[in-house]
């Protein structure tokens, strides 16, 4: 049984904007029966302001696919095409509170449908610039996952947008690699490529730790603990739990093997603090909570 939020259930049971628009200004369909979900979207656009005045959808799929479609229509109604084009799958998932990771591809399908509908509008109204046309042709990309027809372009876009790092995540968000698995090596190559690019670009645009709100500070520290520290501890049978942040003092509890280990304090100080100093702020110190 999936854990769906109340919002997912609400959008599934009472989907907004279901239907078709007969004289739609733009129509797009993504997904197909074979894949198990498909979304058809209809837009009515005010020609002068380029604002979406009406939007309707029809969806074949599971509860989260229907809920994602419904959430998308709520997000884009009243927006200009330019604004709507920027709606990401993350925003769709946010409207729904949360989607199980395995279902994130439903939110991606919503984002794709919107972009396809906007492309359809631009094409019909001769709005495509030469550059965009070129991009549209390029947009197709190279098919990586033959089972679900997923291109490298799509994988790259979704990985960057959602900060994905693992194969399982790519499959959950795009379906790529979810059937025969023959393309998993190729997906890994794409992931490795993106990781390299990120590393090269890394030392820029990190907002100063001090300027963050307390909540953001905690989130950032938690993120680094999850990404950089816990995996190392888990490997040795231990674990770490972030308890609190007081000023620049990080309070954490060690569990499992580490908790009974004589070197616990040392491990904690050395590893945790150096990682936090490296990735978050040099000002942080660590204190063990028992």
């Amino acid at each position: 049984m999936w854990k769906y939020t109340e919002k997912v259930m609400d959008h599934f049971l009472n989907p907004r904007n279901v239907g078709e628009i007969e004289d739609a200004d733009a129509v797009a369909e993504v997904g197909n029966v074979t894949c198990g979900d498909a979304l058809k979207i209809f837009l009515k656009v005010d020609e002068a302001t380029k604002t979406i005045t009406d939007v309707k959808f029809k969806t074949f799929g599971c509860a989260s696919a229907i809920a994602s479609s419904s959430a998308l229509t709520e997000l884009v109604k009243g927006k200009t095409l330019e604004e709507a084009a920027k709606v990401t799958n993350k925003e769709i998932a946010a409207v729904l509170g949360e989607l199980p990771e395995e279902k994130m591809h439903c939110s991606v399908m919503g984002m794709e449908a919107m972009q396809a509908a906007i492309a359809d509008y631009k094409k019909k109204h001769g709005m495509e610039t030469a550059e965009e046309e070129e991009k549209a042709e390029d947009h197709e990309g190279r098919i990586v996952c033959k089972c679900f027809g997923v291109t490298d372009t799509k994988i790259r876009r979704v990985v960057l947008e959602n900060d994905l790092t693992t194969l399982e995540q790519v499959t959950a968000y795009t379906k790529a690699g979810g059937a025969c698995g023959a393309c998993l090596d190729q997906i890994q190559e794409i992931l490795d490529g993106i990781a390299r690019e990120k590393q090269e670009k890394a030392p820029e645009e990190k907002p100063a730790f001090d300027s963050l709100t307390p909540v953001k500070k905690v989130i950032l520290i938690q993120e680094i603990i999850d990404k950089e520290i816990r995996p190392a501890l888990l490997k040795d049978g231990g674990d770490i739990e972030l308890i609190d942040l007081e000023g620049t003092v990080v309070k954490a509890r060690l569990r499992g093997v580490c908790a009974s280990c004589r070197n616990a304090k040392l491990t904690l100080k050395k590893l945790v603090q150096s990682k936090l100093n490296e990735f978050v702020s040099p000002a942080l110190t660590v204190e063990e909570v028992r």
Binding site: F12, L13, P15, V18, E20, E29, V33, T34, C35, G36, D37, A38, L39, K40, K58, T59, F60, G61, C62, A63, S64, A65, I66, P100, E102, K103, C147, F148, T171, K175, G178, A179
Partner: protein, 390 residues
């Protein structure tokens, strides 16, 4: 958990513990806690009950009590049977299974393939019937064991296991059947059968979860899967799960009493639901070999909509069923059984399994029939494929 009316049409997933089973079990969870292996009377009297339960279960199978060992579940029985066959005959490296086996066998075969065994998978036709010619070709002198399920969990299809056992024996191979879905639903008589090993699971026939059994034909060499103490004559170590064993024994007695009912009353519930759905709802199809299937199972595809959505709307009414759709499990492809049958994707994603037991009622069937057409219509109203196809 909320108090809500539950209509449980998912008895191939698991079943309610029969009240008589529960009653038979409770003394062994309270005062009769002795170890059946103990020398004193307090433990010894428990051993008598374990033996009695085994006799009841053996009777249901048409077997001798000495042919049966208790295990922790159907999956353990499947694993034990297949590993034993491979250990018995190291020269034979091949396992033959069907494409529609339960994961307990299918994933084990895949793992053994990784470890160096050869695996052949017998295909099925569009009704899920095994291709016997392919089976004859695949089963050869290299084959250590053939493992094919008695009845399929998703479609209820009953396979011709006796013929497969004969083919296996002609080639010097052992034959095992996963009969988890069959035991208690269709008569089984192993007295004159060529089947070498048979797996069953308690919770599919109104006994609790966590108890299973494996039948091993007299004369078949068996290598234990779980090694340790001398329990089960050294064939399955570990202190007996006494309460659950007693429960399974009681469940076997009840199954024998009710086997007629399965094929009359339970089948009538299934047939009423299936027939009315076919009449009332357009664009539906029944998957499987309707002439040879369990009396309690129907697998119905509702075209152009997706199974998880159907199940979730049914759940709002307290109706429990299962789906072969991809989305219910987190996998991205629909059920391997329906795919092996070549069911079109338009149907496979919207396949729903209803499976009944003797605890269901005709009134429940009527309730489902009252709610289901609305659920289907509502989802088709949202589906982009429906408009175009109707």
């Amino acid at each position: 958990m909320e108090e809500k009316r539950v209509i449980y049409f998912d008895n191939n997933a698991t079943t309610r513990i029969a009240p008589e089973v529960f009653e038979a079990m409770t003394p062994f969870l309270t005062e009769y806690y002795g170890n059946p292996s103990s020398i004193h009377h307090f433990g010894g009297q428990v051993m008598e009950k374990v033996d009695a339960a085994k006799a009841s279960l053996a009777a249901l199978l048409g077997a001798e009590p000495s042919n049966v060992i208790f295990t922790s579940c159907g999956t353990e029985s499947d694993n034990a049977a297949i590993f034993s066959a491979l250990l018995n005959c190291p020269k034979r490296k091949k396992i033959v299974v069907s494409k529609v086996e339960h994961p307990a066998v299918l994933n084990l075969a895949k793992e053994l393939e990784r470890r160096g065994s050869k695996v052949s998978r017998i295909p099925v036709d569009s009704n899920g019937v095994l291709d016997m010619n392919a089976a004859r070709e695949m089963i050869d002198e290299e084959t250590a064991i053939v493992s094919v399920m008695w009845a399929n969990n998703e479609t209820g299809n009953i396979q011709d296991v006796e013929t497969l056992a004969e083919i296996a024996h002609r080639n010097g191979a052992l034959f095992h059947t996963d009969a988890v879905q069959a035991v208690g639903k269709v008569p089984i008589d192993l007295k004159h059968s060529e089947i070498d090993m048979l797996s069953l699971s308690g919770h599919k026939l109104h006994a609790p979860k966590g108890i299973g059994a494996l039948y091993i034909r007299r004369g078949v060499r068996f290598r234990p899967y779980i090694i340790g103490g001398h329990q089960e004559n050294g064939r399955r170590a570990g202190t007996e799960n006494v309460a659950s064993i007693v429960g399974l024994g009681k469940a076997a007695e009840l199954a024998m009493e009710n086997i007629g009912k399965e094929n009359t009353f339970v089948a009538s519930l299934r047939d009423k639901l299936e027939k009315t759905i076919l009449e009332k709802i357009p664009k539906v199809r029944v998957n499987g070999d309707t002439a040879h299937r369990l009396p309690n199972t129907t697998n119905i595809s509702f075209e152009y909509i997706e199974g998880e959505s159907i199940l979730m709307l049914l759940d709002m009414f307290g109706i429990c069923a299962s789906s072969g759709s991809a989305c219910t499990t987190g996998s991205l492809e629909p059920s391997h059984v329906l795919r092996a049958m070549g069911i079109p994707y338009t149907c496979a994603h919207g396949a729903i399994r209803f499976s009944f037991s003797r605890y269901n009622t005709m009134e429940e069937v009527d309730f489902v029939l009252e709610k289901l057409p609305g659920v289907i219509a509502r989802l088709r109203e949202i589906s982009p494929y429906w408009e175009a196809k109707k």
